[in-house]
């Protein structure tokens, strides 16, 4: 990927591939899952070759997503740890939503909203995976009682709804905050983008002479 001079790497190639495998799986799971959730959306099963195929393929895609999201957790957990900046940023959420980011407390690589999406999914994806195994009838129905399966299917659907809502927020934020989409497709952002949205991140990159995505640990002052 050609990255223009003077821009910053927001997401590495590995992170982007990992992200889009996850995203692709999510969309396939969204359609196949909703097909089996609500009668009015059953027509979505046709996208997968009918109901039998939808039922058969959904858990396999879910397994890929679980592995893929585990990769995202490994790559992103450190920058998503919560800190005091998140509280201050949340207090100024009104200004953020109104696109008036001057004066909003500075944040590092991820703001509280992004961390919310990350940790929500870090919780919901394993919940859906585990409850999904319980209701994966073909292979695992013999290992649980029917009552346990009833509990699992209810939790599975509630977690899925929560995940879909979080996902809508995630997708909309990417559309709303211009430059974010390119950060996850081509991988880079301009310094101005970093100044506007993640000034603390920019300062650390600048202080350590790094072009991203993480400050260089071997150079410059330690991040505060």
């Amino acid at each position: 990927m050609t990255q223009p001079k003077g821009t910053l790497t927001r997401n590495t190639t590995a992170a982007r591939i990992n992200h889009w495998i996850t995203g692709g799986c999510f969309i396939l799971l969204l359609f196949s899952g909703l097909a089996m959730f609500h009668p009015m959306l059953f027509f979505l099963a046709e996208l997968f070759g009918g109901g039998q195929w939808t039922r058969a393929i959904h858990p396999w895609i879910g397994t890929v997503l679980m592995l893929s999201y585990a990769g995202l957790i490994v790559q992103f957990w450190r920058d998503n740890l919560l800190n005091r900046d998140d509280i201050n940023w949340m207090k100024a959420i009104d200004s953020v939503l109104a696109n008036k980011e001057e004066g909003v407390p500075e944040v590092a690589r991820f703001n509280a909203g992004q961390k919310f999406v990350f940790w929500s999914m870090a919780f919901l994806v394993p919940v859906m995976f585990i409850t999904g195994l319980v209701i994966w009838d073909v292979y695992f129905s013999a290992y649980t009682t029917i009552e346990q399966q009833r509990i699992a299917v209810l939790i599975h659907s509630l977690a899925a709804i929560a995940a879909i809502i979080v996902w809508i927020i995630h997708v909309y934020a990417a559309i709303w905050v211009r430059g974010s989409m390119r950060a996850m497709t081509q991988g880079y952002v301009t310094p101005g983008w970093a100044w506007r949205h993640h000034r603390k991140w920019l300062r650390r990159l600048a202080a350590t002479g790094s072009t991203g995505p993480r400050p260089r640990a071997d150079r410059g002052p330690a991040p505060r």
Partner: protein, 303 residues
């Protein structure tokens, strides 16, 4: 067998519209199983296999007369044998013909996500239309009686049809036809209840003071009913549920959660859209770039 254009549906799984239902001048039917007259000969099992062309795999002896050991995709009805010690210390051998109860409010149908895979006809019979079945196993979770079984071969769910094909042309179910003692009766639900009353009176006169009809109201009544000598304790009959009803978990999952979910998803999407209309895109301004360049130069200089 294909769906024979019944036009007498009163319920159809995963359907938000009224199913074809004009041919509704039909009386509700019921099978009445008089446990007190059953001798455990398994003629009903054999007749079921015969009529429906079912042959289960040969199993193993499990230490009881139950044979095969459980319901399966190829075993739609099964004699279950239970040994029960009564108050006097006498042993009673309780034999119950297990199989689909054809609930008035069928949990399987409620849980089913595939349109038209489970239907209920105007005569009350709950039938699986297998070509629409997707093999998800939701019917298993919906059923309060642990009846449906999913085939590992064709991934379809199977259970007793109450011989809907026979009943549709005026014949009684195969098990009824085969029963040598008249323990299995078939007719309109009203007639079966009347007959059951007579049986209950007779059983009471013979000392079974708790004799009664098993037509559980928790599932709106059933189209397969039992006359039990101990109707106060259904569970002694190889685990017949005392108060069967569709699990509250299934009720939630298939009830309030569905509209709430769609509303929640739609609300989020609409809110996002209107945020876009009100606030618009958040774009990097020239001064952001200028400020960033100033910062980068400053740190470069200082290093």
């Amino acid at each position: 067998m294909a769906d024979l254009q019944s036009q007498n549906y009163i319920r159809r799984s995963a359907s938000t519209l009224t199913p074809p239902s004009v041919r509704d001048h039909e009386q509700e039917v019921a099978k009445l199983i008089d446990v007190s007259r059953c001798i455990g000969c398994k003629a009903c099992q054999a007749a079921c296999m015969e009529w429906n062309n079912l042959r289960d795999e040969i199993g193993h002896f499990e230490g009881s007369y139950d044979n095969p050991a459980d319901l399966s995709p190829s075993t739609w009805t099964l004699m279950r044998f239970a040994e029960w010690e009564n108050d006097k210390g006498d042993l009673e051998w309780l034999i119950r013909k297990d199989g689909c109860m054809h609930c008035e409010d069928p949990g399987c149908l409620k849980a089913c996500p595939a349109p038209g895979a489970i239907v209920q006809y105007a005569n009350g019979i709950v039938d699986f239309i297998s070509e629409n079945c997707i093999g998800c196993g939701y019917c298993v979770k919906g059923c309060p009686f642990d009846i449906p079984r999913i085939s590992q071969v064709d991934h379809k769910s199977y259970k007793c049809t109450l011989c809907s094909d026979r009943v549709a042309v005026g014949l009684e179910p195969a098990c009824v036809k085969a029963c040598p003692t008249g323990a299995i009766m078939f007719g309109t639900k009203a007639d079966m209840k009347t007959w059951a009353e007579e049986r209950v009176v007779d059983l009471k006169s013979r000392g079974f003071s708790n004799a009664g009809l098993y037509d559980p109201s928790g599932v709106g009544g059933t189209h397969v009913m039992y006359v039990l000598h101990h109707a106060d304790k259904p569970s002694i009959y190889a685990g017949l549920p005392d108060n069967p009803r569709i699990s509250i978990l299934v009720d939630l999952w298939k009830g309030i959660v569905k509209p709430l979910a769609l509303a929640g998803i739609a609300f989020t999407a609409v809110t996002a859209f209107f945020h876009w209309i009100v606030a618009g895109p958040n774009e990097v301004q020239p001064e952001d770039e200028a400020n960033a360049q100033r910062l980068l130069r400053k740190t470069d200089d200082s290093r």
